[in-house]
Amino acid sequence: MILAFDLFEPYGFQFFQHGIIVATIAGALCGLLGVFVVLRGMSYIGHGLSHAVFGGAAASAVIGINFFIGAGIWGIISGVLIARVARRRVLGADAAIGVVTTASFALGLALMNRYGQASKSIEAVLFGSVLGVKVADIVAVSLVAVFALAVIVVWYRKLLFSTFDPDVAQVSGVNVSVVEVVLLSLLSLTILVTMRVIGTLLISALLVIPAAAARMTTNSFSKLLWISPLIGAVTCFVGMNLSYHLDTSASATIILLDALVFIVVYTVAGTRNRMKMASLGHV
């Protein structure tokens, strides 16, 4: 049994304090952007972009430039390339993501093998690590979160319109291409500032699961935009604490907790719908 004293034990370590702050903000941020990822049917894009950013991270390490600048620019370019290739309908978004991001990921692996301290660095980037989280990471994730929130508030209607009905949005004066590029850039930045804790392999789950679970709880777009970040933030916070006490990987624990929330919501929503249908049958 864990005593109350034990519950607060990890907070005595600075790495954990930094890690839990970054993870909680990252959970809210991924939950917020995940709403658009899920509603636009772009779940695979989070997976793809995280791999692409890995290539940028490796390249910036080799060239010796700042991680955030190098990998950030790389991620944004990858996002724009995906959007451009996907617009050629003969290929489609899935093929575009497959080509752009796997090539970037392979380049990252090759660069790290050739020039880096391969195995340890690769493992940290792929699976995430709370040990290396610094104050700069907290600042970076906070800035991206504030920026993303500002964009979503100011562009709320444009984002909603272009997500729901891009053709009519375009006709009604919304520049759908610009909205798409901004959204993909925000996704790239989000992945960039959260990958150190969650890791590139599992970040896509954080973009998809909270939003997918939230989607089953409401039919309102505006409510989705706070329920999904709430699920993301709470699961990251609880997951970080659990991972310390269970001595498991933080990212794996967070994603498993998200999956558990999804299963519970899915089951409850399914039961509720069946009861609703049954009551209609008795009318």
Binding site: F164, D167, V168, G173, S222
Partner: protein
């Protein structure tokens, strides 16, 4: 009727890759007109609308519109994601995306939404999710969204596609009322008897304009065969042309 031209298509050609979808199309839509574009699948009806809306490039020719023309576009309801988490009110207000950064629906917008819904006879559905509506209500909601922009011209792609007879009647009467109020309407349809025959002007299209005029002039066997590539008979019923498709299939065992 006014002859003020709102949309003027001159020698318009459009392609998908190397395949020509529209070839040397000439069509003019004047203020106050109610025009239906008919033709078989793949005849270029939707491409013509997309070219007018500016979402499909024109390879040759030109489309000129009256300056500051406001278009109200109603897509095929079959393309709508009915599971998307939005209410009727949100669907309508999203057309006011330009020039505002305030995300919440204002009281003035709420009243304007109610007014347009009342005008279309569905004032009670404002706060309902779009999936909870009947076919006729769904069509009206997207019509309301287009009307919310106070358009000079309403452009509709297959407004009666996939709807039942009752809904088709509702849509037809609604459009007739809007036209009577002075709205210019341009639509595409497959439905020759249920919709096209009731319109004041029809354009028969099959990559190029085959005929343009009122239904009595256009719905003739020769024009229809040239448009659809199949023989059709035209009868008269209640003072209106009635198109009979001769593509009857002999079923196994029939006539024994």
């Amino acid at each position: 009727m006014s002859t003020e031209s709102l949309i003027n298509c001159e020698h318009v050609s459009c392609t998908y890759g190397n395949a020509a979808v529209l070839d040397d199309v000439y069509m003019q839509v004047n203020r106050g007109e109610f025009v239906g574009v008919v033709g078989p699948s793949g005849s270029g009806k939707t491409t013509l609308l997309k070219a007018i809306l500016g979402t499909h490039p024109v390879a040759h020719g030109s489309i000129t519109m009256q300056p500051k023309l406001t278009l109200g576009y109603v897509p095929q309801v079959e393309t709508v994601d009915w599971y998307f988490p939005v209410t009727v009110e949100e669907v309508i207000v999203m057309t006011r995306s330009k020039g505002t950064w305030w995300p919440r629906i204002t009281q003035a917008e709420r009243k304007a939404v109610r007014d347009v819904l009342d005008r279309l006879g569905i004032g009670e559905v404002a706060n309902r999710h779009i999936r909870e509506l009947s076919g006729g209500q769904q069509q009206r909601v997207f019509l309301a969204r287009a009307m919310f922009r106070n358009p000079d011209i309403l452009i509709m792609d297959e407004p009666t596609s996939g709807v039942d007879v009752r809904t088709r009647h509702e849509v037809l009467h609604l459009l007739a009322d809007l036209h009577a109020d002075g709205l210019t309407i341009l639509l595409t349809t497959h439905d020759l008897n249920g919709l096209a025959a009731h319109l004041p002007r029809l354009v028969c299209l099959n990559k190029r304009v085959i005929a343009d005029g009122n239904p009595r002039e256009v719905l003739t066997p020769s024009v229809l065969e040239a448009t659809y590539g199949a023989p059709m008979e035209v009868l008269e019923h209640g003072g209106m042309p009635l198109v009979v498709d001769h593509g009857r299939v002999q079923m196994r065992g029939e006539g024994k």
